[in-house]
């Protein structure tokens, strides 16, 4: 509107401008104020360029997984596959059946860690988030503060004493050493708590007046209302656990997870490139699928993620 006052008239623009504008409308809604077409195009190109940078290794993994070895080692290397084959996957199975730990064992370990760890995390974190978000009792403020502070440092800081504690508990060389700490990820609790804060307190109080116990309120009223937050906790915990190598806690080869095995195969050198690509594809495809399914819920949860004063 402002532009029209300055004597601007869109009809006077040339054909190129109009074509570009039409094209841009395909991907941008065009209802935003204060936008110039030039700026839109430049910023969009930046986005595309960057998208190529982040997407490149994925495209690379997908293509390499289906390349025959001769094509992987061709000079100069090509990004896209020309004669797709499943050889890498059969090689992988062959390699893994020859090794003294079958690949199925690594897959089983990773799946077990991920499923048990994620389920426990979602349940325990939601259980703890409910009182913190919706009730006032001695200690709430303190616990909330501790959780926010714990976001401010990384697990690496506590690696040594955590190792000592694991030893004392007898958890070294068991999958519990990865699973139990995963139950208590602090980011999950934090996001869940913030999401629960927006449930109207009247829902909870009226259920309580009708005689529901806190357990019933939690399970029947609160939990169904925070489904988007579950999915967010699931994807965050999933991606952490799926990539867990268990490096410092697990020494028994039969209990190692898949990403540890992947690192070892990569260490095997250039001849294994095809197999590496096959494993990488598998490692990538599962969390990506989970993310695609849960994307909108995650965005919804993250809207409440901020640190308020």
């Amino acid at each position: 509107m402002a532009k029209r006052q300055k004597g601007y008239h869109p009809k006077k623009r040339n054909i190129l401008y109009r074509v570009i504008k039409k094209l841009m409308r395909l991907i941008q809604p065009g209802n935003a104020l204060n936008r110039s077409l030039g700026g839109d195009v430049v910023l969009l190109l930046t986005l595309l360029l960057f998208g190529m940078f982040t997407a490149y290794p994925m495209v690379f993994i997908i293509n390499n997984a289906f390349k025959p070895l001769s094509e992987i080692l061709v000079f100069p290397p090509k990004l896209f596959v020309r004669n797709p084959t499943l050889n890498n996957f059969t090689d992988l199975i062959l390699l893994m059946s020859e090794s003294w730990i079958p690949v199925s064992r690594y897959v089983f370990n990773t799946v077990l860690i991920t499923v048990v760890g994620t389920t426990g995390h979602v349940i325990f974190a939601s259980m703890a988030a409910y009182p913190l978000a919706k009730h006032k009792f001695p200690g709430v403020k303190g616990l909330n503060k501790v959780v926010v502070y714990s976001l401010m440092f990384n697990g690496a800081v506590t690696a040594i004493p955590a190792y000592v504690i694991m030893t004392q508990l007898g958890l070294i060389d068991t999958l519990w050493a990865i699973i139990l700490p995963a139950f208590a990820f602090s980011l999950g609790l934090y996001l869940m708590k913030n999401f629960m804060e927006q449930i109207p307190t009247t829902y909870i109080e009226s259920a309580y007046m009708d005689g529901a116990s806190e357990y019933q309120i939690f399970w029947k009223i609160v939990m169904p209302l925070v489904k988007p937050a579950w999915l967010t906790l699931i994807i965050l915990s999933f991606q952490t656990l799926w990539g867990a190598t268990g490096g410092q806690y697990i020494y028994d080869e039969a209990l190692k997870p898949l990403s540890f095995a992947l690192n070892q195969i990569v260490g095997g050198g250039i001849a294994r490139t095809g197999v590496v690509a096959a494993v990488s594809l598998f490692m990538m495809i599962v969390p990506v699928t989970v993310f695609i399914i849960s994307q909108s819920s995650i965005i919804e949860t993250m809207a409440h993620s901020g640190i308020k004063e």
Binding site: F50, M127, A159, P161, V164, L187, Y208, M302
Partner: protein, 323 residues
């Protein structure tokens, strides 16, 4: 007369009954309230038991250990400030590690933060369907688990490495470059990979925050004389997503100071001339390979102080946005 006394008596008893009833009801209520808070504490217990066991307790233990000599076999011996003195005056590798950590953090932290915001902001301008696809593409590196391993193939030291092949093909270099063995290149490659990974949770938080900005604010802003997208960004968008700005800063600072896994898997462990050595890899080296737990705890304590300090300073700065 006796009829009157009976009547009074009756009333009195009724009064007593009612009082007892009320008292009992109150007692029941109190019992229920007690049960309620007990239930709430029970809900809290499993999570916080594990949380204290694996997060709070280790921090406390680490602080105490850092003043002792402890090798996992003998009982810890008190050592005072000895570990810290050794760190800063005798351990050359630790000084390299601190230098690298700060360099990595100062580059990847702010760039990752800025990148997360800028790309969330750009993605947010798109139509919903295009937006979901772009979100996936940009977020994908952080969800694909150990997929960053692929960078090792890209920067492989022979001519089949993709970077080398590219450079040789266009005649920029004649001999393949030993990317991951050359201390001049190692830091750059680690930073590159880390940046590639850095659009994670904070990127999602920004997208969510941007979608939650009240649209009428923009209209009001246009009326009030905001002329272009940059003014709109500074005066409306940024102040509206302040909570997300704070949250993402915490996530980015913490992640950028703890770079280790990428460094170890890309540049090797230990890396050539310690070019990819960070505080965390030094911690792993001392703790897991040499079992000097007291010394390692001192390293952890320093890292802890750096993370907490960095976060608190940035939180203070961010409070000023839009004021």
């Amino acid at each position: 007369m006796s009829a009157l006394i009976d009547k009074v008596n009756q009333r009195f008893h009724r009064y007593l009954d009612k009082k007892r009833e009320v008292r009992e009801k109150r007692k029941l209520e109190r019992k229920r309230d007690f049960k309620r808070s007990r239930d709430l504490y029970i809900l809290l217990t499993p999570y916080f038991l594990l949380f204290f066991l694996f997060t709070v307790l280790p921090v406390a233990i680490s602080l105490i250990f850092s003043f002792t000599y402890f090798n996992m076999l003998e009982f810890p011996k008190w050592a005072g400030w000895e570990n810290y003195r050794r760190l800063f005056f005798e351990d050359d590798v630790f000084l390299i590690a601190i230098k690298n950590t700060i360099m990595f953090a100062v580059i990847t932290g702010p760039l990752g933060y800025l990148g997360s915001f800028v790309f969330a902001w750009l993605v947010n301008e798109l139509k919903p369907k295009v937006r979901s696809v772009m979100t996936l593409i940009i977020y994908a590196p952080s969800i694909s688990g150990g997929a960053y391993i692929i960078w090792r193939l890209i920067f492989s030291g022979d001519m089949y490495g993709y970077a080398n092949a590219f450079l040789i093909r266009y005649g920029i270099v004649l001999e393949p470059i030993q990317w991951l063995q050359n201390p001049d290149f190692i830091p750059f490659i680690i930073i590159l990979v880390q940046l590639w990974l850095s659009l994670g949770v904070s990127f999602l938080a920004f997208i969510a925050g941007l979608q939650g900005v009240d649209r009428t604010l923009y209209e009001a802003g246009a009326v009030d004389g905001i002329k272009n997208r940059w003014q709109e960004l500074w005066y409306i968008t940024l102040p509206s997503i302040k909570p997300q700005l704070m949250f993402s800063a915490v996530i980015q600072i913490t992640a950028s100071l703890a770079i280790a896994e990428v460094a170890m898997n890309i540049a090797g462990f230990p890396s050539v001339e310690y070019a990819g050595h960070t505080i965390v890899t030094h911690l792993i080296d001392v703790g897991n390979l040499r079992f000097e737990m007291g010394y390692a705890s001192a390293i952890a304590t320093i890292l802890f102080v750096m993370m907490l300090g960095g976060n608190l300073i940035v939180q203070k700065l961010l409070r000023r946005v839009g004021t």
